[in-house]
């Protein structure tokens, strides 16, 4: 089974992801502050109240996160309702354990049920938050987003490619056949349900097919340099991350030039991170940025959905070139 980095709503978050853990800490501590504020708003008593609350909440929180991180893979194999039930059971158990330890330290603890209610409340809020976040970020769940996703291949590319096929059809029918086959592959991936992470090697293959099509159209004007010797072929990334970026590189970097230009692609691993670098020539005067922004926003969103704070995407434009740098955690399919 793979680690379920699933984009679907109705799935637990990945408890081994730093970003997810931070979000949980912020939510729970935020709720503590709210609870304390309900009792008093004077600065000093507020501090005391917070310290009292924290003495119980923090151990529960930290112990929970440890248990959840440990049980993460196992939890994700369960169906969502069972996973939620298990999560609640774990939380109640952890609360009970901490309560017993608490009894040995503090005299007045009140009833255990009170703590259970608080734990249930917090668990509900956190689980609800991740459910909503999954929905908001999941592209497949709203029609508009699906359409935006599929609009990534520009009509410009679509019609120009078809025109190129027609242009070589009579002189070189075999080449036209290969082009149409590559084109079908691209379209198939594009129309597919692109929610699961996939090995980067497949992405590279797709990118090569795409660039091959463009090379036929643009001839010597498009040159490509690959540096993927340091690439872990099994690293998982969201599908269709590279292709839209390359399409931007061709559209903004190569097509506006009459002299040849080179697109550089470098993928390498650095410890538990995988780096993807793209570079293309750029004059900085193109006024058609909106397509580029759309593609970037889309990729940023999908990276966030899969990897949260552990991934990043940066763009740098200077006088001569435009660069994109993507960092994702090195994850493998543990089949």
């Amino acid at each position: 089974m793979s680690i379920n980095q699933n984009a679907n709503a109705g799935a637990l978050p990945n408890f081994r992801n730093l970003g997810i853990l931070l979000r949980i800490l912020v939510i729970v501590d935020g709720m503590c502050l709210a609870a304390a504020l309900l009792k008093t708003s004077e600065p000093l008593p507020l501090m005391e109240e917070l310290i009292d609350l924290s003495a119980l909440v923090q151990p529960v929180l930290i112990l929970s996160l440890l248990v959840l991180a440990g049980a993460n893979n196992w939890l994700h194999r369960l169906r969502y309702p069972y996973a939620i039930a298990t999560l609640v059971a774990i939380e109640l158990a952890v609360t009970t354990i901490v309560y017993w330890f608490g009894l040995t330290v503090f005299q007045a603890m009140g009833a255990l049920e009170r703590y259970w209610v608080f734990t249930l409340l917090v668990t509900g809020v956190v689980a609800g938050y991740f459910e909503l976040r999954g929905r908001a970020l999941s592209p497949a769940l709203t029609e508009a987003r699906l359409q935006a996703l599929q609009a990534r291949i520009r009509p410009h590319f679509l019609f120009n490619s078809l025109n190129t096929v027609l242009g070589v059809m009579r002189q070189d029918p075999r080449r036209a056949e290969t082009m149409l086959e590559d084109f079908s592959d691209l379209m198939r991936v594009l129309m597919a349900d692109n929610q699961k992470l996939a090995p980067i090697s497949g992405e590279i293959g797709l990118a090569k097919q795409y660039l091959g099509l463009e090379q036929l159209r643009l001839g010597e004007r498009l040159m490509v340099e690959w540096d993927i010797t340091g690439m872990p072929a099994d690293a998982l990334i969201p599908p269709m991350v590279l292709q839209p970026l390359l399409e931007n590189a061709v559209y903004h970097g190569i097509e506006p030039r009459s002299e040849p230009g080179t697109i550089h692609i470098r993928v390498h691993r650095d410890g538990d991170r995988v780096h993807i670098h793209l570079r293309n020539p750029y004059r900085g005067e193109s006024d058609r940025h909106s397509g580029n922004r759309m593609a970037l926003a889309n990729i940023r969103e999908r990276l966030a959905l899969h990897f949260d704070a552990e991934s990043s995407i940066k763009t740098i434009a200077d006088d001569e070139s435009y660069r994109v740098h993507i960092v994702v955690p090195y994850l493998r399919d543990r089949a």
Partner: protein
């Protein structure tokens, strides 16, 4: 019909397979319409160089090309004595298509259908050349070059090389480091098109901001002192009108 001269077509597209395709289609037309390929060009500059000699009746002109787009090329083409008909070709350009429709400018969508191309070519002879005002309106950005017709050839003047533009009667003098040209355009339009590149120093004069070296004081005919613009590359000194005095401070390169 048989006695009619063949229709000469110039193909302009930056992509070789796209030009191939049009050649194929033109040969398909040949059985029903007398057509000839007058030439092929992979960019606008080359097309403009070919046009005076190749006697084209029709130009099939790609809209999106590097350096100079088809809409600008079409404007320069109008400088010819007898400009050929222009039919734009484009794979996809939502903005241009809407504008073409509005102004009844002829265009073909790539991939081009044989029947559509045939119809467009048949119509081409009777087609009035697109009006330059319409083309200007269609162009999404400022031209990269100005152009003049000199002894039947189209001379391109890179906008980046222009030091100043000066209105004189019905012409505008265009001054570059090398020489002077006369063009028939309005200074106000030029100012609007190249907003930000030029600054108006006088009612009849626009100066390229990049070309300004500084300003100096001079005594005019009326005996009053006023500012003159000193430029890089050209020796002319241009007077700054009283009304435009404020630019001296704004540009602030006092010599």
């Amino acid at each position: 019909m048989a006695a009619e001269q063949p229709l000469r077509v110039l193909i302009v597209d930056d992509e070789a397979p796209a030009r191939n395709r049009i050649r194929d289609l033109l040969s398909d037309c040949a059985s029903r319409l007398s057509v000839e390929i007058a030439g092929e060009a992979e960019n606008g500059r080359r097309a403009l160089a070919l046009l005076p000699q190749c006697n084209a009746d029709v130009v099939l002109l790609d809209v999106r090309m590097p350096e100079m787009d088809g809409l600008e090329v079409a404007q320069h083409i109008q400088k010819l004595e007898e400009p050929p008909a222009v039919i734009f070709t484009t794979a996809y350009d939502a903005y241009a298509l809407k504008a073409f429709e509005v102004h009844a400018v002829d265009y073909l969508l790539k991939p081009i259908r044989l029947a559509r191309l045939f119809d467009a070519l048949v119509r081409a002879r009777s087609l009035a050349p697109p009006r330059i005002e319409v083309l200007r309106e269609l162009a999404p950005s400022a031209r990269t070059h100005l152009s003049v017709n000199e002894r039947g050839r189209i001379l391109l003047i890179p906008v980046a090389d222009i030091a100043f533009l000066k209105a004189e009667l019905k012409y505008v003098t265009v001054r570059t480091a090398e020489r002077e040209y006369l063009i028939e355009e309005s200074l106000a339009r030029l100012e609007q098109e190249f907003l930000g590149r030029f600054v108006r120093v006088h009612r009849n004069c626009l100066v390229a901001k990049d070309a300004i070296r500084g300003f100096e004081r001079a005594i005019g005919d009326d005996g009053e002192g006023h500012w003159m613009v000193v430029m890089n590359g050209v020796t002319d000194k241009l007077a700054v009108s009283r009304r435009q005095q404020h630019i001296v401070r704004e540009i602030g390169k006092l010599s």
